[in-house]
């Protein structure tokens, strides 16, 4: 029997339209806009000024504090200005705007396609290189990778988990990466194992990607301590906690981190970025992005420089369809709806999904019939119907005791609700109110 997590979960139509698409390089955009906050933590601090000439790979904003990350120029050209610009959240945030001129990279980046297997770095050296390459979790959470690799005192990592689940419908960026860069991924896994000083790495891949499963399993056979597992298709299996449960049957405690159960988990995209940073000296300034949708002419996987406007990606996939109603930055279950197509691709962007008009609006909300489907599908064992009502009437103490802060915002409850109730919207409100109260009472 295939492994999976037991509690809750849904199975939306997979719609992996771009699964057969090879990764294509997106043409360099004329202008890139690089937000200085692309990761979880403190915004980076720009180290360039308007008028400076930069090369691709050059540091343009350095990390500010421990939980932060460096940002490198994705193109060569001239810094036009540092100004506020709308990003995927819909807010204006500070961004470094660069006019592209040619494609010159800094000298020490190895631009060859050759796969370099050998490395002799120590654990600390690997973590330092990852820090200076500005690597963050590319699965979407964008948590700085070096922080995850630095195991807190008193904790011990036993397993490295590599997340090749890609449970969001439509998205295929990780799938394409596993098919085309399997060898590099294996080296990346070895680097991460070395950095964490663990002996075993588990790779989880959902069963709807048989080619990737076969490919990675075959490659892993030649390496010690890397095991590949096929997982039953179920959303949100790509969630860190659900994946750890599926692979190791360990439950990350409420409010805890994977390291509390001896696990550190990384997405395959992050693993590939680690490979490139260490073996090729290449900082993180490009990533794989799926551009897809039922009406999109050529749903594809692109290698995209950070800062490229979303409109350029859509253009490359055959242009914006006539019937477009909604453009989503990320997957359909957890992505953000965009209001503006000039929003730049950042490190956490795994896909651009274009939904037609008839799938864009929500249906009319009906009364709750207490069918308990939301309770059954919640992967965290919460009661979404209750959290929604508690949130509506501002009962914050009960929200907290009913574990609203455990919600991972996967959206399974809103997805399944036969009455189209805005469950997750209200839970988010309750969650932010409760964490605000906790923050202020602590001070």
């Amino acid at each position: 029997m295939l492994k999976t997590f037991l509690k809750g979960g849904v199975h939306p139509p997979e719609n992996k339209l771009s699964a057969k698409s090879k990764i294509k390089d997106l043409p360099l955009p004329q202008v890139v806009r690089i937000p200085i906050l692309q990761h979880l933590g403190a915004p980076s601090k720009p180290v360039v000024e308007a008028g400076d000439q930069v090369k691709a790979g050059q540091l343009i904003a350095k990390s500010e504090g421990y939980v932060s990350s460096s940002i490198h120029s994705p193109v060569s050209g001239k810094i036009m200005k540092i100004d506020d610009f709308i990003d995927s959240t819909g807010y204006k945030r500070k961004a470094i705007i660069i006019n592209t001129e040619g494609d010159e990279w800094i000298e020490n980046i190895d631009r060859s396609k050759e796969h370099i297997k050998e490395f002799s770095l120590s654990s600390e050296e690997i973590i330092n290189r990852i820090l200076s390459a500005g690597i963050v979790g590319l699965g979407g959470a964008t948590f700085p990778t070096h922080v995850k690799l630095s195991i807190p005192r008193g904790k011990k990592a036993e397993y490295l988990i590599i997340n090749g689940v890609e449970c969001e419908p439509y998205l295929t960026a990780d799938h394409a990466l596993m098919l085309e860069h399997g060898e590099e991924l294996i080296t990346g896994i070895k680097l991460l194992k070395k950095a964490l000083k663990v002996n075993r790495a588990l790779v989880g891949i959902e069963n709807n990607k048989p080619d990737a499963l076969k490919h990675i399993s075959a490659l892993a056979l030649n390496s010690n301590g890397i095991n590949v597992y096929a997982l039953k298709v179920k959303y949100p299996q790509g969630g860190e906690k659900q994946l750890i449960k599926a692979l190791l049957n360990r439950e990350v405690p409420s409010g805890g981190l994977p390291i509390d159960v001896g696990v550190v988990a990384f997405n395959v995209g992050t693993t590939y970025a680690v490979y490139e940073a260490i073996q090729k000296n290449k900082p993180l300034f490009e990533r794989i992005v799926t551009v897809t949708g039922k009406s999109v002419k050529n749903s594809s996987n692109f290698r995209v420089r950070i800062g490229t406007p979303v409109s350029a990606l859509i253009e490359a996939a055959g242009g914006l369809p006539e019937n477009t109603g909604k453009i989503i930055y990320g997957g359909p279950m957890m992505g953000k709806a965009l209001s503006d197509l000039s929003v730049p691709v950042t490190k956490g962007c795994s896909g651009i999904l274009i939904l037609p008009e008839n799938e864009s609006s929500r249906k009319k909300t009906q009364p709750c019939i207490r069918c308990s489907k939301c309770v059954s599908v919640c992967p965290m064992g919460l009661e979404p119907y209750l959290l929604m009502s508690l949130s509506q009437i501002n009962l914050f103490d009960r929200l907290e005791s009913d574990k609203v802060l455990d919600c991972i915002e996967c959206g399974s409850c809103s997805y399944i609700c036969p009455s189209n109730r805005p469950l997750l919207d209200y839970i988010r409100l309750g969650k932010s109110a409760v964490s605000k109260i906790i923050r202020t009472t602590k001070q």
Partner: protein
């Protein structure tokens, strides 16, 4: 681009479940039982069901449109399900005006006074049924004898004794009171398990055919409209509890002694007059196949609105229904108790929801 984009929070895709589809599933699951009722009771089944169904929908429409002046929601199908389930709980020769009173109580008092779909604490169809049972005890407990399609809807007064009868539960209960054993009673009343399983017995029109109700149960499980928790905990607890009591009865004692070939002492009880008496009781299979256990466990107790939200809560609720039903059947004054049992447990649902939480992750 000059077109406006839609903005909303995630998720951006939704399942195709709707209230209407769920209700339609329940209606489809009730079709086998309806057809079986038709085969045994004929035209009366159609008359009672249509009156109940139409009056329930109509009352909901009138209340929503003219009294509450709110949005009319009759198309969600919930009033249709209430109408169907109310009819399934009625004798197939019930006069039309009693049915209409039942519908008015079910929809008016059972559902709309609490704020309509989703807010009623008690199962509306059962509120209607129990109101009728208390108000019209004779009409509600005398059932036509099954004569197939020729069973008349209106039974002439002079033929009432010949053409009507009671439910097996009632026959056994009254018989035990007169001191007869269940074995004897089954023979006198010509009752056997295959008739009970197929539905060739007296009873409310939708409750008689155990096999048809079970077929609907399988359909509901496959469509994932309900889970197994409530029906199986009701059925299981009725089986276990009646089984436990049955072991102490003369009937159970005789069968156990014969099959195990041992001579157990027969337990005797003192009654109110200080006389020693044996305890008579029908076996668990009889209890499961007669009365409203199947209809109640599969279709009434599982009503979304009035049942608990967590699987553990559902098992507590279902077990409570089973235990109360058996208590009423064996020790109470009514021959059947599932309607009361469900309504009583409906009252506990908010409490169960408050204290029985799902197992949290982590």
């Amino acid at each position: 681009m000059n077109k406006l984009l839609t903005i909303s929070q995630s998720p951006h895709i939704f399942s195709d479940h709707t209230i209407r589809k769920l209700m339609l599933g329940v209606i489809l699951a009730l079709v086998p039982a309806f057809i079986t009722a038709l085969i045994f009771y004929g035209i009366g089944v159609i008359i009672v069901t249509s009156i109940s169904l139409i009056s329930c929908v109509l009352f909901e429409f009138i209340i929503q449109k003219y009294i509450l002046k709110s949005e009319v929601r009759i198309t969600d199908g919930s009033a249709i399900v209430t109408g169907l389930l109310l009819a399934f709980n009625l004798p197939s020769n019930l006069p039309w005006w009693i049915i209409i009173i039942g519908s008015l109580v079910a929809i008016g008092i059972g559902k709309m006074t609490f704020g309509g779909l989703g807010n009623n604490p008690f199962n509306p169809a059962l509120v209607g049924r129990v109101f009728l049972l208390i108000s019209f005890p004779t009409a509600m407990t005398v059932f036509p004898k099954a004569q197939g399609w020729n069973t008349p809807y209106i039974i002439p007064v002079d033929k009432i004794d010949a053409l009507t009868g009671a439910t097996p539960l009632n026959l056994i209960k009254e018989g035990i009171k007169s001191g007869r054993s269940v074995v004897e009673l089954l023979e006198i009343n010509n009752l056997n398990y295959s008739d009970m399983f197929l539905g060739n017995i007296g009873g409310s029109l939708g409750e008689i055919a155990a096999f048809a109700l079970l077929a609907g149960f399988i359909y509901l499980l496959i469509r994932k409209i309900i889970t197994w928790h409530i029906p199986l905990s009701v059925i299981g607890s009725v089986f276990l509890f009646t089984g436990l009591l049955w072991i102490f009865s003369e009937e159970g004692h005789n069968i156990i002694s014969a099959t195990l070939n041992i001579n157990l002492p027969l337990i005797k009880f003192k009654d109110a007059n200080e006389e020693l008496k044996v305890f008579h009781m029908a076996d668990p299979i009889f209890h499961l196949l007669t009365g409203g256990i199947m209809l109640g466990a599969i279709y009434m107790a599982t009503d979304y609105v009035t049942s608990p939200m967590t699987h553990r809560g559902m098992i507590i609720y279902g077990t409570g229904i089973g235990v109360i039903t058996v208590l009423i059947r064996v020790f109470g004054s009514y021959p059947e108790g599932i309607s009361f049992a469900i309504l009583i447990m409906n009252g506990f649902v908010p409490l169960i929801n408050r204290y029985v939480k799902p197992k949290r992750f982590g």
